[in-house]
């Protein structure tokens, strides 16, 4: 990291650079052009209506004045007017929008409604009315545009402030005794400054256009003064005879607008510490997946001894050498396992361990830009590599997601959504499909199944919806059910019920399951075989029974168990030992793994709890997904 951080920051911000250059040039023009060019711009000559030529690049107007010089000289007045109007509406609008939030409830609501209706009124029309009332002139044009711009700033400020005011840090600041106006200045305004700056730049552009429009229709700048709008106004009568006359002011307007927008975008990303190109976190580590990608490739992720047990003859799902990459990051590294018919295999691990990625790779649902390779990935005779027939994929693999509320379309009744697979893939008639679904819902202990089918998703509790999505996933009687953290969003008593339903389905239908969870207690209860993942690799293979009894041998699995509150005696210290990616890989079966003294000093590779730990529990990169 030898480069100066400020240099890197600027390099990463091309729009800031471009915007600053454009506006900088315009400011130079505004400063330099009037003293240098006002002669040729304002002296009346006999060379009227000349075409573009060597003496006059864009020709001359009806009074023999140089068109280009006039456009350049007009820059000063135009920019000053637009800047003054924008600054006035920014200050007044932000003040109104912010102060509204300090007002008591009823006053706030009234003000917000008033601002809303003011925004709905077209700003140019408002400006025209104000300018007409005040009379034509430079000053009244500025006032008109400034007033017209106020509601936009006020509403954006009020709306953004409302979202920030709900954040925990504002509540905390209030608890700490920070006075209201200070909260506004310290927390609310800085956190909404990004969008406000973008609005400031687009508002500058709008003011520019609106002021030019006012001058153009004769309500703004009056002769002998001239701005770009006035120039366009003067050029209009001869636009067909001499089109080059409108070119200069139009180009200047466009260039200025683009420059302001670019600058606004650049500044917005500059003021946000999250997008500012600062050095990486002190403790932030190469995140788990990165570490996995860069570590020595000689790691054996599958203990040779266990390989024989894996290759079950009736293996339904076969995953061999599965590697998933996103760009140059390895999310899943050489993972192999099989699921026998009727078996439940659990994938357990902490955030970033790659467990969900494996499930999505099996289901063929990896997001764009993420690539899966495997020496074999097959469900029975269905090859899941490449492009398996969509219909077989849809009928042979059922999927249950984590968030039961997000799974359903809130606008449609449940019956329509739940019977969709049966109707489209199995061709079941609608009425039959509904009857089947009602029976399936009753089986999975959804109360009043007939009524549920007529309800919308929001009318059901999370537990009921999750049961419904399980029933839906089971419609086609799939050979494999993939459940990705299906009980994480549920209350503990509801979770127990849903887990019982998974067990029942497994017993009654013989459905094989791939069950993903971060909860080692859950997989221990439900699963036959459990793969423990860390940094995209399988670090341990164990069984649900061993997890329940605590008879696991691998240090990482033992560390996980020792950190589980339910599995540790009350009063005893929980193990907060972190297992880092440089730890020696899973020992081949047969060789006894080294003993990890969970109560004492950690062995090599196990860093003790504390700041020194580098494997952040959730790398900052993952934050965006929250």
């Amino acid at each position: 990291m030898a480069t100066d951080p400020t240099v890197r920051r600027r390099r990463r911000n091309p729009s800031l650079l471009a915007g600053a250059v454009i506006l900088g040039l315009l400011v130079v023009v505004a400063l330099v052009a009037p003293p240098l060019l006002s002669g040729s711009a304002e002296t009346l000559t006999d060379d009227a209506r000349l075409g573009p030529g060597a003496g006059h690049l864009l020709g001359t107007d009806a009074f023999g004045r140089d068109v280009l010089a006039r456009a350049l000289v007009a820059t000063r007045l135009t920019l000053l007017m637009a800047a003054a109007a924008t600054a006035a509406s920014f200050v007044v609008g932000v003040a109104i929008g912010a102060l509204v939030h300090l007002a008591p409830g009823w006053l706030r609501e009234t003000c917000l409604r008033l601002i809303d209706s003011a925004v709905a009124f077209p700003s140019l029309v408002l400006a025209l009315v104000i300018a007409a009332v005040l009379g034509p002139g430079t000053g009244s044009a500025i006032v008109a545009i400034a007033v017209a711009g106020v509601p936009g700033f006020a509403r954006l400020t009020a709306n953004l402030a409302a979202t920030v005011a709900d954040k925990d840090y504002v509540l905390t600041a209030r608890l700490l005794g920070v006075p209201g106006p200070r909260i506004l200045a310290r927390h609310v305004l800085p956190n909404i400054s990004g969008p406000l700056l973008v609005l400031l730049s687009s508002s500058f552009t709008l003011s520019l256009l609106d002021i030019s429009s006012l001058s153009f229709v004769g309500l703004g700048v009056q002769s002998p003064q001239y701005d770009w709008g006035r120039l366009l106004n003067e050029a209009l009568p001869s636009i067909f005879a001499q089109p080059s006359v409108v070119l200069a002011p139009s180009l200047m307007l466009i260039v200025t607008g683009v420059g302001a927008m670019l600058l606004g975008d650049g500044v917005a990303s500059l003021v946000d510490p999250r997008t500012r190109g600062t050095a990486p976190a002190p403790t932030a580590a190469p995140d788990a997946a990165d570490a996995a990608g860069t570590a020595a490739p000689a790691v054996v992720s599958r203990p040779p001894g266990a390989a024989g047990a894996d290759a079950e003859p009736d293996g339904l799902l076969t995953v061999a050498g599965l590697t998933v990459r996103a760009g140059d990051r390895t999310l899943v590294d050489d993972v192999s396992f099989t699921i026998g018919a009727g078996r439940i295999v659990g994938l357990v691990g902490e955030s970033g361990s790659g467990k969900s990625t494996i499930a999505m790779a099996v289901a063929g649902l990896l997001p764009e830009g993420v690539r899966a390779d495997a020496s074999r990935l097959a469900l029975g005779d269905l090859d899941l590599l490449g492009t398996p027939p969509g219909r077989r994929l849809a009928t042979e693999i059922g999927i249950v997601y984590q968030d039961p509320i997000g799974t359903f379309n809130p606008a449609l009744r449940l019956g329509t959504q739940l019977t969709e697979v049966a109707r489209t893939h199995l061709g079941t008639p609608r009425r039959q499909a509904r009857r089947d679904m009602a029976r399936a819902l009753a089986d999975i202990r959804v109360t009043e199944p007939e009524r549920r089918l007529r309800q919308h998703p929001h009318e059901l509790s999370g537990g009921m919806l999750q049961r419904a999505s399980i029933a839906s996933a089971m419609t086609t009687n799939p050979r494999l059910l993939i459940a990705d953290e299906p009980t994480t969003a549920l209350d503990v008593t509801v979770q127990a019920e849903v887990l019982r339903q998974f067990r029942r389905i497994n017993r009654e239908h013989g459905t094989a399951m791939l069950f993903i969870s971060h909860d080692i207690g859950v997989v221990g209860e439900l699963c036959d075989t459990v793969l423990v993942l860390h940094g995209g690799r399988v670090v341990d293979r164990t069984t649900g029974r061993d997890l329940r009894r605590g008879t696991v041998t691998h240090p990482y699995t033992r560390a996980l168990l020792a950190a589980t509150p339910a599995a540790v005696e009350a009063g005893a210290t929980l193990s907060a030992v972190r297992w880092t990616a440089d730890t020696p890989p899973a020992q081949p079966a047969g060789t006894p793994p080294y003993e990890a003294p969970l109560d004492g000093t950690p062995p090599d590779g196990l860093s003790p709890d504390g700041l020194s730990d580098t494997a952040a529990d959730r790398p900052p990169a993952a934050e965006g997904s929250r």
Partner: protein
């Protein structure tokens, strides 16, 4: 229904926080819902009460009522025998502090750690300079490196941020602390770190704490007393160990039997009513 079992060990003579028959309604008019229905409990000085409940039980409403966000429609909240006013300013800050649930939204992303902690020490001016040593001390208390104080929250992991949140809550030296689901957003190992840190702080600073959680297994490690909320009613209140061994209310028993890994957990067998 309000359980009025007495608090354990230290006796009820000196409760720091006493909640009497607390009733809270949210919403107005026809939309009003009674979220807490006559809840009573004591927290003796230096002890921790764990409040357990599933979603909709009213536990977060209780926390927010204690910090003054909601106004109770009935009952009293006493701190050292005096009614808790919705005090603002330093006096309020020194009475109760809350550690919020989500470590990702509880810090202003545009302020450094030092700035956020300085605000906790001096709410009005929030200047870092005069309080740097105190900030370093606070960070040390939660086992964070003081050298990181000038960094921004996004440069810290979730567990580290939760440590920061704890440090910030302790900064005004409040008389009691509310921890609202502070480990539910964390990974297992990180959760263990935070729970161990809390246990350590309870010992060293003799904190008085209300620990709110949906996870029975977690509260077993951090509480002296446990209270169980069900739909706004306090159905169980008793010493933690005894309650876990022999719950009085059937709902508590059902909660306990629902924790995967608990010996009472069964996947096959009697289906409980949905």
């Amino acid at each position: 229904m309000s359980a009025t079992a007495t608090a354990p060990d230290t006796g009820t003579a000196d409760p720091l926080l006493r909640v009497e028959d607390l009733t809270v309604e949210l919403g107005r008019g026809a939309a009003a819902r009674r979220v807490l229905k006559g809840v009573s409990f004591d927290i003796p000085r230096g002890s921790t009460l764990a409040l357990v409940g599933e979603s909709g039980s009213g536990k977060t409403t209780l926390a927010r009522t204690l910090v003054g966000v909601h106004r109770p429609s009935g009952g009293r909240i006493l701190v050292d025998g005096a009614p808790l006013r919705a005090a603002r300013g330093r006096e309020g800050a020194a009475t109760v502090q809350m550690i919020p649930q989500d470590p990702y939204s509880s810090f202003d992303p545009r302020r450094t750690v030092a700035q956020s902690l300085a605000e906790a020490l001096d709410p009005v001016r929030a200047r870092v300079g005069p309080v740097r040593t105190r900030i370093a001390e606070l960070l040390g208390q939660v086992s964070l490196d003081p050298d990181g104080m000038d960094r921004y929250p996004h440069e810290f992991s979730g567990g580290q941020r939760q440590r920061l949140a704890i440090a910030r809550a302790l900064a005004p030296r409040p008389r009691f602390v509310i921890a609202d689901e502070i480990t539910s957003a964390l990974d297992l190992t990180t959760q263990a770190e935070i729970l161990n840190l809390l246990a350590d702080l309870r010992r060293r600073l003799s904190l008085t704490m209300l620990f709110i959680s949906h996870d029975l297994a977690v509260v077993r490690h951090v509480s002296d007393t446990v209270a169980v909320l069900l739909h706004g009613d306090l159905v169980e209140l008793g010493p933690t160990a005894a309650t876990f061994a022999e719950p009085e209310h059937p709902y508590t028993a059902r909660l306990l039997a629902s924790v995967p890994g608990d010996p009472r957990f069964r996947l096959d067998g009697e289906p409980a009513p949905a």
